[in-house]
Symmetry: C2
Subunit: 401 residues, 2 copies
């Protein structure tokens, strides 16, 4: 079959579904989580052999709505990559965050594959997280929610797929924190994953990335409205601190040149400066405020803290290799596709190169592609056209073999 | 005289002095500031011809104490460049922020020159700023302090030097915002400046730099303890927001590789992760908290807002050239020395290159040096040994001519 010539289609309308897991999830911390609910969406048709499943994993602020149009458009879309709003316009508000990559004829082709996306453990979009009611107390977990790791997220995905009767995965794919989950799958369940697609990701975030995440969390926790994490039901929530956290995150997701191209030093409201401290003055200042305001409406601050912590903890070499990345990857059986972007300074290409080198040294099949693109880390949400042929080629070689 | 062979000495103990200006300062905003006091220090001896004056201008968080040891050690030194505390140890707490550059036999040689450093307008270390009592009301200005620009800072420096009976400057020198002041001097008072030394600076901060500064200001202004700027005397001040602002600033002053070299992903308190959200876990997280805590003790939040705003407004081409940098620099008479650092992503070498190109096109004397060094923007405070010969050579050629 010629994968590249088929016209691309849309998933159409989809609705997020929910599944309650029967058993508890055993966590890295030693604690257990009971009564875990998982929000998910599926696209395409499960083959009778159940061998065509792609698990798509989302990043920090994503959710289970990866593709198609939501039946009820959310207040603000998770499709908030740089420029995504410009491109989609109002009608795009309900589009999944990776709609350009998932659908008939797209990179993850729903004519061939059964694509599953779950909201991750600790999230705030349907899967159990800090804002969920703890059945033991009748109140939201808040800061009593156990600290979860990427490995715990993957264990939850494993338990969820068990409940769906899916044992093997043809592909686990994701960008950023989603790519960490794909790597963790390949390490934790080597016999159950045929291929992983790891985009704009890393085996361990670099120290500057740790710093940005620490600053974002500090900003939330220093907001008095955070109230030690017990803000649910108080009528107050740490929007001020969350807004600043989002601004920090947003700038790290973009490249400097992209900000220059989009905004330059243009003033927002007048031909000349107005000598104001409190009002935004430059276009980029207004843009950041807008990003902050729309984010706090759709995302829970405690979830942000927990997920940010999980992605800074993630460290394949420490967790699985006693400090050696190669040792950590020793048991991987999946074929690996790595994609990184030249302007991504938060998850830089060097991290993918290190993974590729370790796998190559181990004699394992790996493809490592660097895409020269200007938008920084957000490229994984934006550069669909250039990722698509790489992914389709990688997957088609497997199908043919 | 052989400048390069002389042993370097120390300024010894110095005390900050204060001078009250007689006339008002007319500001870019159209407002006037009366009763302006200027904090300053001087090093070396004024020549009978008053032709050996170097004005040194400080950056965002600096003060008038540029060199020597303070008689009374401040609570926390402004000498807070990356690693400065490590190098100086406890005894260095009272050292001026550019002590490595100013003194007998140093880059700015006090055996030859009379070096003057003032705290800038809007600051919080002795010169009139938002925390100063407004004589018209008997209360601190707070947010009623007029918004000041780099040009206003330079006007204040001009008025201060008038009061000292100093008309011409042999050199105006500074790094970062200090370099902006040097450039502004050369443009605003072309007949009164022989040379400028502009280090790790720019003619206009790039949009990502605008973004970081906007985030820092937002963090302060969103802290409820900021109280619209009226926090003086309330027993509360926006330490939480200021701390986050400082963390953001601090990471932008360093390079990613410098953070990796210094901290890596080392854990602070244990051999393994402790599964904690609220406690710092990585060394870099503890370091940032320490930076935040020490900064809020020594710096006023309103001053931070005003100075951050001034440096984002600064734009030589817009202010003086109708959008053209070359036109803005048309009347410059000073010789120009530019120094930038390869790893400085906040004030990148490209900005210096643009200034050099414009001056060269105008046929004006300019030297442009790029120092390959790993510490980011803070290099201007740290790489004294490599800046010194460039500055001494540049200045000696003038002395010889």
């Amino acid at each position: 079959m010629n994968n590249t010539m088929k016209p691309m289609g849309s998933i159409g309308f989809v609705e997020t579904q929910y599944l309650d897991l029967h058993g508890p999830i055993r966590l890295d911390s030693g604690r257990e989580l009971r009564d875990v609910r998982v929000a998910y969406e599926t696209y395409g048709t499960l083959s009778p052999e159940r061998d065509n499943v792609i698990l798509v994993c989302h990043a920090l602020s994503g959710n289970a709505h990866a593709a198609g149009s939501a039946k009820t458009a959310p207040e603000a879309s998770a499709r908030d990559g740089f420029g995504a709003e410009d491109r989609d316009g109002a009608q795009g508000k309900g589009l999944g965050w990776w709609d350009g990559m998932i659908g008939p004829g797209k990179a993850f082709d729903t004519d061939q594959y059964f694509v599953v996306c779950t909201n991750l453990l600790g999230g705030c979009n349907g899967t159990t997280g800090p804002s969920t009611i703890d059945s033991a107390t009748g109140r939201p977990y808040g800061p009593d929610f156990p600290v979860v790791t990427v490995a715990d997220m993957v264990r939850t995905e494993r338990a969820f797929l068990d409940a769906l009767g899916i044992e093997r995965l043809a592909v686990v794919a994701g960008g950023s924190l989603g790519g960490m989950q794909a790597l963790e799958w390949a390490v934790q369940y080597p016999g159950q994953v045929d291929s992983i697609v790891v985009i704009a990701s890393t085996h361990a975030l670099h120290p500057q990335g740790l710093a940005w995440n620490a600053i974002a969390r500090e900003s939330i926790m220093r907001d008095p409205d955070w109230q030690g994490g017990h803000y649910y039901g108080t009528g107050r929530k740490p929007d001020a601190g969350m807004g600043v956290a989002r601004m920090v995150g947003h700038v790290t997701y973009l490249s400097g040149p992209a900000l220059t191209d989009k905004f330059g030093r243009r003033l927002q409201f007048a031909d000349d400066i107005r000598h104001t401290i409190v009002e935004p003055e430059f276009e980029v200042e207004s843009y950041l405020r807008h990003q902050a305001d729309s984010f706090v409406k759709r995302f829970d601050a405690n979830s942000y803290l927990y997920i940010s912590r999980a992605l800074t903890y993630f460290d394949l070499a420490r967790e699985h290799g006693g400090g050696s990345l190669e040792k950590a990857l020793e048991n991987v059986k999946a074929r690996t596709l790595l994609i990184s972007f030249s302007s991504d300074w938060l998850y830089p290409p060097e991290a993918s190169d290190e993974i590729a080198a370790a796998l190559t040294n181990l004699g394992k099949p790996v493809e490592n592609h660097l895409i020269d693109a200007p938008y920084g880390h957000d490229c994984f949400l934006l550069e669909e056209a250039r990722q698509t042929p790489l992914i389709r080629d990688f997957l088609s070689r497997k199908m043919a073999s």
